[in-house]
């Protein structure tokens, strides 16, 4: 299955863009809320300060002192409350502050702009406790229903601050101030929406650009792959043509020898026969003469008529025998050519079914015969065969493999040497070894010998496809091709082929 780059990038980048957008919005929200809290806290502290400046010394200090001894219901009905409440209302009118509460040091509500709450004990409240410890505590709260000055509001977001109030160095009481931030939050939400829209547009554009880039890149990659495949096919083809060319050159050379001496001999024999024409005429004439006179001991020859012819006879009695020997050699030459053609036919097997039961020894013999014509005479070929059962295979493909191995072996032998081809049955396998007496495979070359395009020959000489193709062919037959030994004394390539072709039959042909 081909890797689909565009799909992959589309899906993954979409996920990451969404993640990034979400993170951005979340981050914005956090920053905006924190800012708002700080701002409102500062505003609340200011409000407190205004209250304190206006009310603290004048009203609350004596009130607190007085309230100390009062019970909660008494406190609620204290006459000073009304006065303080009026002042507070005056101060807060038109502001965003919704509620103000004052606690004494024990946590009792001594004043609330919501008068009903006066006297409530809030000493357990964490905000109060924080304030008593000297910290200003602020938090955002949402209230479904909230009684503010003069009215009850619904569904508001409020900032609630507990602010310690000092009397000299000592904390004398705690202010609690609520201010409304619903409009602020609305603004934040609106900005958030704009941000989401902006992010959608920006990331969308980026996403589109990325998509286009990747789609184009994929187009290029696909094109390159197609070109590479074509190049590989061409190389495989040229490898085939190269080995074919080598084969043809070898065969041409092998054919050339019998052609050369046969041509020469036939020409000489024809000349010889032409020279024999006259003696034959004379002899025939004489024979005719003898036949015409049966039962006589001597015949008359009219030399007047035939002297010229007879004296022109200049015949070596060995001439006919020599011509016969020449033609005998020609016959020999024709026999050599017939053998070659037969081997060629066996080698290519164009006239056979693709997968047939084959005697590998016979195939190997043919390959060796063919290979001999192409490899130098200094290299000796040794056949070391044991009888093999028939193997279901594609013989022309296996011939290609063995020819390739033998040619490689020949190239590994720089001077005199030999190549031994050994066949054996091992268990349920046929094992064929091609053993050369060459210089071995260098260590740095060894790991790459089956790599496609790897070659130690000059560019344009070797395609680097011989061994990879050979290994493919052997594997398609369910077997394996490997190097079983290599040293400075030579190399052994081993082909193992399973005898039980229980699985699929080897594929018919390669492109």
């Amino acid at each position: 299955m081909q890797f689909r780059l565009v799909r992959y990038v589309t899906v993954t980048s979409l996920a990451f863009f969404l993640l990034a957008a979400l993170a951005m919005v979340y981050f914005y929200r956090q920053v905006a809320l924190t800012n708002m809290l700080h701002l409102q806290e500062a505003a609340n502290v200011n409000v407190t300060r205004v209250f304190a400046n206006t009310l603290w010394t004048a009203r609350f200090v004596p009130f607190l002192a007085e309230s100390d001894g009062l019970s909660s219901p008494e406190l609620k009905n204290n006459s000073q409350i009304q006065e303080i409440h009026r002042t507070v209302l005056d101060l807060m009118r038109g502001g965003t502050t919704y509620k103000v509460k004052v606690y004494d040091r024990r946590g009792r509500t001594v004043y609330s702009s919501e008068l009903a709450q006066i006297g409530e004990d809030k000493s357990g409240n964490s905000g109060f406790q924080g304030a008593m410890a000297g910290q200003t505590r602020t938090e955002l709260v949402h209230k479904e229903k909230f009684s503010a000055f003069e009215q009850v509001v619904e569904n508001r977001d409020l900032i609630q601050s507990y602010i310690p109030q000092y009397n000299g160095r000592e904390i004398a009481g705690v202010f609690e101030v609520y201010s409304d931030v619903t409009p602020f939050l609305g603004e934040i939400a609106a900005t958030e929406k704009k941000l989401v829209a902006g992010a959608a547009v920006a990331f969308g554009a980026l996403y589109l650009a990325l998509f286009l880039i990747v789609r184009r890149a994929e187009g290029i990659i696909v094109g390159q792959n197609r070109e590479r495949d074509q190049a590989q096919q061409q190389l495989a083809q040229s490898e085939k043509m190269a080995s074919l060319g080598q084969l043809v050159a070898g065969v041409a050379h092998q054919l050339n020898t019998p052609i050369a001496f046969s041509l020469s001999n036939v020409a000489l024999a024809i000349a010889s026969l032409n020279r024999m024409a006259l003696p034959l005429r004379v002899a025939a004439h004489l024979a005719e003469n003898v036949r015409r006179h049966p039962g006589v001991d001597s015949v008359r020859l009219n030399l007047n008529r035939s002297r010229g012819l007879i004296t022109a006879v200049d015949c070596d009695d060995a001439e006919a025998a020599l011509a016969a020997r020449m033609l005998g050699d020609v016959q020999n030459g024709l026999e050599q050519m017939r053998e070659l053609v037969e081997n060629l036919r066996d080698f290519t097997r164009l006239d056979r079914a693709k997968v047939v039961g084959t005697d590998l020894n016979r195939a190997l013999r043919t390959v060796i015969y063919i290979a001999k014509s192409a490899i130098p005479g200094r290299i000796q070929m040794v056949e070391d065969f044991t009888e093999l059962p028939l193997l279901e295979c594609n013989p022309s493909q296996l011939n290609q493999v063995f020819l390739n191995l033998i040619n490689n072996a020949a190239q590994a032998i720089p001077y005199e040497g030999h190549i031994r081809v050994r066949s054996r049955v091992e268990g349920r396998e046929i094992r064929v070894d091609v053993i050369d007496s060459g210089g071995g495979i260098p260590q740095d070359v060894m790991p790459h010998i089956f790599d496609t395009y790897f070659t130690t020959k000059a560019a344009g000489v070797g395609t680097g496809l011989g061994l990879p193709i050979a290994r493919d062919i052997v594997r398609n037959h369910g077997g394996e091709l490997r190097v079983t030994a290599t040293s400075s004394l030579g190399t052994t390539f081993t082909v193992t082929l399973p005898l039980t072709s229980g699985g699929e039959p080897p594929p018919a042909s390669r492109p």
């Binding site: 050159a249 041409a252 050379h253 050339n256 020898t257 019998p258 052609i259 050369a260 001496f261 041509l263 020469s264 001999n265 020409a267 000489l268 020599l322 020997r325 020449m326 050699d329 020999n332 030459g333 130098p376 005479g377 200094r378």
Partner: protein, 340 residues
């Protein structure tokens, strides 16, 4: 010794020559014997070692050898024959030879002819007769090998090549031992050879991508038999080299890229050879060449006549540095010359 002499040397004086044929195929040996025995005394050997033993023992006029044989190759055999029996003419008879052995047959074995199998029944006896006659009438000069006597400096080399690099290389290789004249086209070469005599010709087989001049080199060699030809070429196809041997009797064929040291040795040896040819005019006959195809020769002659009538393309050659200035050379080195 399993050598068989099919024609006993009964009447040695009548035989037109003693021929040694070497091939690993007995059929070929028999065919050659039958073909040649009428006119020559033919001895055969089935391999290089056997042939060398025969050459050491006997005197042969012509040695014909196959190239591909188990053991010693034909080229190696003929090189040894050249050393042992320099008088014998050497012919390589082969169905197929790789480029390397063809080059070695020229440079090391200095063969007289390169004959392809199958041979012509009419031509081969004629060729052998010619070779035998030359061997009998014109014994070889002293072998040129090992430590060369320094050329006396009077030699001159004509370099015909379109590539400035070659001119520079020849200048480096032989500038100190000979006068060198550089030309880059056929017209100039013809004019130079008319004006004066040269000892050695160094030539490429191609001037530019489309002008093939191996036949022209052969023709020059026919017209100036004493000119020692050294071909320094990129294209070392078997056919070309074979033609240059048979029709041009070139002295050396050096494939490009050539190393200066090797070229220096080859040119020195060529200069000595030229001196030898000059001193012993007889020797020229040992390098008789096959005539070119008549039609081809006529066309070339016409071209040559035309070339002679033309004005020189470049000014009269002198000891000036090879054509192409430094900038052009740098340009070519950086971008390549476009020649594969």
């Amino acid at each position: 010794m399993s050598a068989i002499s099919l024609n006993p040397p009964a009447s040695g004086t009548e035989s037109r020559g003693r021929i040694l044929c070497v091939d690993d195929e007995p059929n070929i040996l028999r065919a050659l014997s039958w073909l040649l025995q009428k006119d020559f005394e033919v001895v055969t050997a089935a391999g290089g070692d056997e042939a060398l033993a025969l050459v050491r023992r006997d005197d042969f006029d012509v040695v014909i050898s196959d190239q591909r044989m188990p053991g010693m190759s034909g080229v190696d055999l003929l090189r040894e024959v050249k050393a042992i029996a320099p008088r014998a003419m050497r012919i390589l008879l082969t169905g197929y030879a790789d480029v390397q052995s063809v080059l070695r047959s020229v440079n090391e074995s200095e063969i007289f002819r390169y004959v392809a199998k199958p041979w012509s029944v009419t031509e081969l006896p004629k060729l052998v007769a010619q070779a035998a006659a030359i061997a009998r009438r014109h014994p070889a000069g002293a072998p040129i090998a090992g430590d060369l006597p320094a050329p006396d400096g009077k030699g001159s080399i004509l370099v015909l090549d379109g590539d400035p690099a070659t001119h520079a290389l020849v200048e480096v290789a032989a500038g100190d031992v000979a006068e060198i004249v550089h030309v880059s086209n056929v017209v100039d070469a013809v004019h130079c050879l008319i004006d004066r005599e040269f000892s050695v010709l160094v030539a490429e087989t191609h001037l530019g991508p489309s002008i093939e001049i191996s036949r022209f080199i052969c023709l020059l060699k026919q017209r100036h038999p004493r000119l020692v030809a050294v071909v320094l070429a990129e294209d070392s196809a078997t056919d070309t080299v074979a033609r240059l041997v048979n029709q041009g009797q070139i002295y050396r064929f050096i494939p490009k890229p050539a190393k200066a040291g090797y070229l220096r040795l080859a040119l020195r040896s060529a200069l000595v050879k030229a001196e030898q040819l000059h001193a012993q005019g007889e020797l020229v006959k040992r390098h008789a060449v096959d005539a070119l195809d008549t039609e081809e020769a006529a066309r070339l002659e016409a071209d040559l006549a035309l070339a002679q009538s033309l004005v020189r393309v470049s000014p009269a050659p002198s000891d000036a540095p090879p054509p192409g200035n430094r900038l052009a050379r740098a340009w070519r080195r950086f971008f390549g010359t476009g020649r594969a």
